[in-house]
Amino acid sequence: MTNKINLKICVGTMCYVMGGAELKDAIETLPAELTEHLNITYSPCLGCCETQRPPLIEINGKRIAGVSKINLIQIVKEEIRNAV
């Protein structure tokens, strides 16, 4: 895989309160074989918590709402599998 996957985690107020803080911890504990494919950044606010259920992430430009610690890892794995 040549291009890294862009993963953006929202750390705005709503996302942070609704579980974004845990997503940050979850990302930090991912194994190296997954993180080497990721380009992780954080956003002060993705600006869509009024219409979508926080916490939100953006993976390769796709917005995903209501992300939890567990499904974040699944989402990341799936995206890597699709990209390879």
């Binding site: 750390v11 705005g12 107020t13 002060p44 606010c45």
Partner: protein, 394 residues
């Protein structure tokens, strides 16, 4: 207080006598908004510990209220002496005080009773101000005197007054057998001449720290120092919340861009608007972490970018507690507090658009209404920290 574009910064620092949990010196400063006056009172109660604390607290409270009511100073001091409880051992009721009353035209009146003489530092040197001596008759102690001095405060002037914990620090040691005395003047002049813009807060801290050093890091008396500094105001803009009408986004961004002074943005949406409108890049900093709060961001041209309502809520809690001494690696809220306290004139630019997502009753109670938190912060900054604060809604 604003005086022809000058600001009068009042700050104070104290440390307890070694081993004591309360301080026998008390300090109080009040801004009378209607009259544009600032009154500051420092008192040292007889002895140390709880007893001294009660005496000095009574003294500063009475002196403050009587002065604010323009009561005659002789009557004020008599009332204080008659009210103070008598010491069981020494059979006297005693506390010293120093009242500094500055009016809206920067006329200063300082009344000293048995306290170490204050210093006036002007253009690189100490100025001796003539003092009027007024006898106060006492039955328990023989006659004592009030010293009254009046002068006009000029820009960059500093008034420094302290308890005898400062002037007598180091007493009995080989290098300063009679205490710090004039050494304090040399020390202060050195500090100010080295850094002309040293703040009242920093100077008060440094004087007390040096007094502690003189005493071999074990203070022999309660040590307090108040510094009053008339300076050009240090401006700070705190911008929080998106404008009610999206058309005003550009206006908000320009206000931030054109503001002369330091700038803080509190709020992810607010920061995104500014970043978009001004074309400035923003990056989240995950190195400075506070478990309770979302992280800081960095934006060129802005001194601090934080999350909004949770951070402001914590700022309000810190300002209420008064515990504002932080370590260097402080979190976002502590950094906001530090910048607030290091400023004189604070403008709070508050966007009034309500984030509907925040109105869910299932959310934590910390998600208060922005306008309420901002109002509380304004009240605290004005009354407790004597800042000039203005709120603008957009």
């Amino acid at each position: 207080m604003k005086n022809n574009d000058n600001f009068i910064e009042v700050d104070f620092f104290q440390k307890n006598k070694a081993g004591n949990v309360v301080c026998g010196d008390s300090f109080m400063s009040q801004k009378l908004k209607g009259e544009g006056r600032i009154i500051s009172v420092l008192s040292d109660g007889l002895g140390s510990g709880i007893k001294a604390c009660v005496l000095s607290t009574l003294t500063v409270t009475m002196a403050m209220n009587f002065t604010a009511m323009n009561e005659s100073i002789l009557q004020t001091s008599k009332s204080i002496m008659n009210t103070l409880p008598k010491d069981m051992v020494r059979k006297i009721s005693y506390s010293t005080f120093c009242i500094c009353d500055i009016d809206c035209f920067a006329n200063v009146k300082i009344i000293e009773y048995e306290s170490p003489a204050y210093y006036l530092f002007r253009r690189g040197q100490f100025i001796d101000v003539p003092k009027k001596k007024i006898p106060v008759e006492r039955e328990d102690l023989g006659n004592t005197f009030l010293w009254i001095s009046e002068f006009k405060l000029e820009k960059e002037d500093r008034i420094i007054f302290f308890s005898d914990g400062v002037s007598q620090s180091g007493m009995g040691s080989a290098s300063m057998p009679f205490g710090w005395e004039d050494g304090a003047k040399t020390y202060i002049a050195g500090l100010v001449n080295q850094r002309n813009d040293i703040s009242a807060k920093e100077l008060a801290h440094k004087i007390v720290a040096q007094a502690e050093k003189n005493d071999g890091y074990s203070l022999k008396d309660d040590t307090s120092c108040c510094v009053i500094y008339m300076r050009k105001p240090r401006n700070l803009l705190v911008c929080t919340g998106p404008p009610f009408d999206e058309k005003n986004d550009k206006y908000l961004a320009n206000r931030v861009k054109e503001f002369r002074g330091r700038k803080i943005l509190c709020g992810g949406t607010t920061a995104t608007i500014i970043s978009r409108e001004l074309g400035l890049k923003m990056e989240v900093d995950m190195d400075i972490v506070d478990k309770e709060l979302p992280p800081l961001s960095h934006m060129e041209g802005v001194d601090l970018v934080t999350e909004g309502i949770l951070t402001l809520g914590k700022v309000e809690r810190i300002l209420t507690s008064g515990n504002t001494e932080f370590h260097k690696e402080a979190g976002p809220a502590e950094q906001v507090v530090r910048m607030l306290l290091d400023s004189d004139k604070i403008t709070l630019l508050v966007g009034t658009r309500i984030n509907i997502a925040h109105q869910d009753p299932n959310l934590p109670v910390e998600l208060e209404i922005r306008r309420n938190v901002v109002k509380k912060i304004k009240y605290l900054l004005e009354t407790k920290y004597l800042k000039d604060v203005e709120i603008m809604y957009i």
